[in-house]
């Protein structure tokens, strides 16, 4: 079974009395250890897709399994637990907590996982070492460069040893040189067996990744995405449409 499986995922938003389909029947699977890009222009639905994959939201209809767990109708708390244990996020604007130093920022996901202080520190130090910032652990984000901040964010994303890491335009706020270094870091992480999904509109980045999923109008563009799993079980029945 694939790490992530999506069957006919739809996500619609109501704007006034108009229904807008952000995702319009997406079927997709991601295997463990893959390193892939989701690309597409703004409004294509790639952010919505990432939010669903990242357990920040649930689909209007369809089935979504992550690591074998069906989260299509998961509760708020279940989603939070999934995010905490199985998912790491890296954001375009780093989203570090400015009042905490590097160590505390990286420890944060483990705080919500209920890890003891001693183990927290050990594991945070490991993750920080992995991104090469061991000498900056007591600096606050304001004292770091953009590239360093993104490294801290990556350390935070991998510290709980998640099944999959999502990076939303991770190089968008960085100059090309620094961005390149961050990509290299991702590549290294991927090489060590991590599943990494980079969401970007930058084709030059996507082009260098082993697999690309191009979104257009809420759907995966046929022809570009050739590796869709065909092992999909029965399409979900209408009763599975989430009423929320």
């Amino acid at each position: 079974m694939a790490l992530v499986e999506l069957y006919d995922i739809r996500k619609t938003y109501r704007v006034g009395d108009q229904e807008i389909a952000a995702l319009d029947g997406v079927t997709l699977s991601i295997e463990a250890g893959e390193f892939l890009a989701i690309i597409g222009p703004s409004g294509s639905g790639k952010s919505t897709l990432m939010h669903l994959l990242g357990c920040l939201d649930t689909p209007t209809s369809g089935r979504l399994l992550i690591d074998g767990i069906d989260i299509s109708r998961a509760s708020n708390n279940e989603l939070a637990a999934m995010r905490n244990a199985k998912i790491g996020f890296v954001f375009q604007s780093f989203n570090l907590l400015p009042k905490f130093d590097v160590l505390r920022n990286v420890e944060l996901p483990m705080v919500y996982a209920g890890v003891s202080a001693k183990v927290r520190k050990e594991r945070a130090m490991e993750a920080i070492e992995r991104v090469g910032l061991t000498n900056r652990i007591h600096n606050t984000p304001l004292q770091l460069s953009g590239g360093q901040c993104q490294r801290v964010a990556i350390a935070r994303a991998i510290v709980n040893n998640p099944k999959i890491v999502f990076a939303d335009e991770p190089t968008g706020n960085l100059d090309s040189h620094t961005g390149e270094a961050i990509l290299t870091l991702f590549r290294e992480l991927a090489a060590s067996g991590r599943t990494i999904v980079i969401v970007t509109h930058d084709n030059t980045i996507a082009a260098r990744l082993p697999r690309r999923i191009e979104m257009r109008d809420g759907q995966i563009r046929i022809g570009v995405e050739a590796q869709v799993s065909n092992t999909a079980p029965l399409a979900p029945s209408s009763t599975e449409v989430v009423a929320r």
């Binding site: 920040l56 708020n76 637990a81 995010r83 905490n84 989203n95 919500y112």
Partner: protein
Amino acid sequence: MNFWFGLLIGLKEIGAHKFRSFLTMLGIILGVASLLAMFALTEGIAQGMREMLAASGGVERVEINTKDPSEELQDLAFLSPGRTMDDVDALRKGAPLIDLVSPEMVMGNTAVSRSNKTIRLNVSGVCPEFAEVGKFEIEAGRMIGQADIDSVNRVAVIGASVADELWPENPDYIPLGETIQLNGTPYRVIGTFAMCESDATKRKREAGVSAVQDERRIRRVGKKKAAQANKYDTYWQKNHAVIIPVTTLFFDFRTASNADGSPNRKLDRLSIRVANLSLFEEALNQVRAVLIRTHRGIDDFGFDTREEWFDNIESSVRATRLSGSFIAGISLLVGGIGITNIMLASITERIREIGVRRAIGARQRDIFIQIVVESGVIGFIGGLLGLAAAGGMIQLLILLSPTENAPIITTSAVLISFGFAVGIGILSGLYPAWKASTLDPIEALRYG
């Protein structure tokens, strides 16, 4: 999320905005301070009133007074001898629920003199029980004893102020063995009572303002009136007591004092002490049964208990405390609204942070707890500072008015005030916490 981590975040958040946090806390600080100061003030006043009650004999003391007999007995009222020493003997023998009986014959406006110095006071003829029932304390010498009663000795025990006023040239003189004249009859002073004063008066005396204030008051209301006003004061009365054996008073002054020249055997005051307060009513019934016989079936006596006095103290203290806490409570409430306001502003500032926390796995409950802990910490610190401020406020009150009843800070008042502060802190965080925890993480991440 761990509570201690929440506490740490709360402290950090407060530390990051010290001035803002202090302003927010100020409402709580002042609220707690006024609540505690109010508790302490009412407690002080209550204490003063209880002291006065205790000084006059406490709740267990009951006065047996005269009253008109019931209507059907009014024609026979002359049969009753009234309150006499016979009542005293009968009560001592027939009312075991009463442990002390103190009769008193009062001779009003008596010239109490020593050489050329004369003051006019009430002189009482009493039994030895008088001291215990009236809570008098012997300072020097001894109290009138049963032997003095039996032998009709011309001896007197005087209050502290009497000694001061008769020997003005010699303050603190203890005139044991001296002779004083009561309406011209010589009596030997065998004892003096200790000065009896309230805490307030004591501090007044120690602060040395008494003389100045008294002078001012005398100037304002006139000397006579000022002296009169004094006489309603339990403490004044006790310090101006002149007592002699009841038998001596009778034989020296009462043998022919009735209009027809017959002796006046009637007591002017008859006090008893109930042995056990839990058998108060039973004791009164016993006394009634005894006295109805000595009074030949005429119910021309009644009871004056201090229970009502006591109840009045307690209920007026309760009323003061209630209205005081209501007002102080409002200021605490205003403080709480201040916290809510700041917490709402603070979460708006931190929407993105909340989004990040949610994205990395914080549950709604975790965010909720974090915000409530933060406002709770504000309440907690505000409460502590408020207690300190209350201490200062009370010192200020004492400084401004050193002669009133000293405010008394009780543990329960401290706990209640502090508990209120923390409670208000937590309560005022609930709404902002709910708002923060129900933010959509996606919206929150996009914010700003």
